[in-house]
């Protein structure tokens, strides 16, 4: 397997891991923060929000998945461009839409389909470029 192809493959694997962890973590975070309720921007309100967040099992589970996202993100960024990885990870929105439609039986609006099509086209275009172009990464490799 050529160096270029190997680089693309391992980047794809890590972006997939990032996508799964980020989607799960964000969903759990939203659920946890909704359980806590609106946060007021004064000293007492911020402290109360922090205390409630730190004692919420849902928030801790979200943090676990978001740490998984962070570690896989760190690893892939050690060789790939930030401007390559960041848009590619947006493919999570596409995955969530298909899971919602096929597993949960949700109806997907035409507007959402347009958004999904734009993300797919954008990720496809980014995928046509070289995963690594920065001088520091090339010097290390």
């Amino acid at each position: 397997m050529s160096h270029e192809r190997k680089l693309r493959l391992k980047t794809l694997v890590m972006v997939f891991a990032m996508m799964v962890c980020a989607t799960t973590g964000d969903s759990l975070l939203k659920r946890g923060m909704t359980e806590i309720g609106p946060v007021t921007l004064d000293h007492a309100g911020l402290f109360q929000a922090f205390r409630l967040a730190m004692t919420s099992p849902t928030i801790w589970l979200a943090i676990f998945f978001l740490i998984g996202f962070m570690l896989s993100n760190m690893t892939v960024l050690s060789w790939a461009d930030y401007s390559y990885v960041m848009p590619a990870s947006a493919f999570g929105y596409v995955a969530v839409t298909f899971v919602g439609m096929t597993v949960l039986g949700e109806t997907v609006s035409p507007r959402r389909w347009i958004g999904v099509a734009l993300i797919c086209a954008g990720v496809f275009l980014v995928g046509q470029t070289k995963p690594s172009t920065s001088a520091v990464a090339e010097a290390v490799q």
Partner: protein, 123 residues
């Protein structure tokens, strides 16, 4: 409205700045030889010792906290579409700070993703 817009701006800028700093740190740490447990753990050990990582983490923590605050104030259908701006801010940072080669094709892809994410999240 002004409070939400200002918080959103700080959220986007701090998040992008943090990710750019971490990216620079990861490049300095050097990629793992193989995607196996030992080389990856060794890489993470090096990564946690780079100064740029510790510059990025507080900025990302600030961004994460502001996201939680924003989500408690406003519906997710407003917060996430607006945060899609970070794709553009991050790419500008990658081009001018990290000196990545962001050509026309990549820019077109980033802009399509940015608009697509905004539309999907708004729905």
């Amino acid at each position: 409205m002004i409070r939400t817009a200002a918080t959103l701006a700080i959220f986007v800028l701090s998040g992008s700045a943090g990710e750019l700093a971490v990216t620079h740190g990861m490049k300095k740490a050097g990629a793992p030889d193989r995607l196996r447990i030992k080389p990856v753990l060794s890489f993470l050990g090096r990564a946690f010792c780079t100064g740029w990582f510790w510059v990025g983490v507080p900025l990302m923590a600030l961004s994460f906290y502001l996201l939680m605050v924003l989500l408690s104030w406003e519906p997710i259908s407003l917060v996430i579409p607006a945060s899609a701006l970070s794709y553009v801010v991050g790419t500008l940072g990658a081009k001018y700070i990290l000196k990545e080669d962001v050509n026309g094709v990549r820019w077109a892809g980033v802009l399509l993703v940015c608009i697509g994410v905004a539309i999907v999240a708004a729905g």
